[in-house]
Amino acid sequence: MGLALVLALIVAPEDADQGISQRIFYIHVPIALTAYFCFGLGAIKALLLLWRGEERYDLESYVAIHQGTIFGALTLITGSIWARASWGVWWTWSSNQLVLFLVLFLFYCAYFMLRFSLEDGPRRARSSAVYALFGVALIPVSFLAIRLASDFIHPTVFTRDGPQMSGSMFATFLVCWGAVTFLAYVLYRVELAGKRLDADLRELREVLQ
């Protein structure tokens, strides 16, 4: 993490066009990719739950989506700061990625509403899993929809010809990405351990009563 920060803030060359504000790219994009990764992980765990019916996948899917939503909110915040710095506005509907994250953020907030509204049990686990699966189907469909709906202004860094960055910038980006993924993984483990402990405690208390 520390190395990533140093590289992002000091070592990487400044963007000729955008100057200092471009450095937020090294945080913003890894966070966004990690959020996608968490949503994907949540959907895979959801699929495993429906397929195998093992209870532990429910909690794992929930925790992964929780992490994804946190990283999604961070993406919105860092994206908004970047938009302010380089386009002069806090929010712009012409940035497809930001709009997509807003849609996804709303979708996954509804996921939590669904979870908290249903009674604890296998039906809640399966309903949440189905909703999580709808989420990964919604990501490409929404992306297509937003692209159809608006013109394309956001800087496209990854094109079909590969990343459009110089070597040291790309190395910094990779280190930052690794660091953020590692952070997400640690948070995922910590939250999962906490939630499991919680469930065990509750079971123990019921046994004792």
Partner: protein, 212 residues
Amino acid sequence: MTYLADVAALTRKDLRVELRGRDTLPAMLLFVLSTLVVFHFALPEGSGETAAYGLLWVAIVFTALLGLARAWVPEQEHRVLDGLVLAPCDRSAIWLGKTLATLVFLLAAQAVALPAFVLFFEPLDAAALGGVLLADVGICAVGSLMSAMAVAGRSREVLLPLLVLPLAIPLIVGGVGAAVSAEPERFLLFVLLYDAVFAVLSWASFEYVVTE
């Protein structure tokens, strides 16, 4: 063939319940007409025809939500769903029957709402109508699954719009695009793609939502 017969029987059951009780359709009709009147006052003079097309879509989505919110309530109140799940038919037939019944209600509401829209606001061309029809299928397919999830929850009336609206955004993009764009084929194709993807997904996952 028995699958189709099951679906037809379930759809007929919903239509008959509606004919006897008249719980849903009059409410949808009145709602969509009142919304159109509200839009007349909400749109300032000279705000243009495209704004009216956009608001038509708001009216359609919320009317569909109104119908979907009621969709599983009779089943839940009289515990019919437990009986249906136990019945010797494929569970996805229950979803398909409910989707078709909701679609019939929505089309009936639109049979009044769309002429009223033309009368009050702007004309609709064939592409716009095609967009409405295709999007109806998508809303009903996804919505009847979401409604089955929400009806088991504590706050079902509040929950349903939260679940459906983010999923309906691509449909609104396609529908509005088909109405206002110069080349509507792209948007119609997109809505068709959405329908196919989400109908299959809902069809396959309904069983998991209703079984205990």
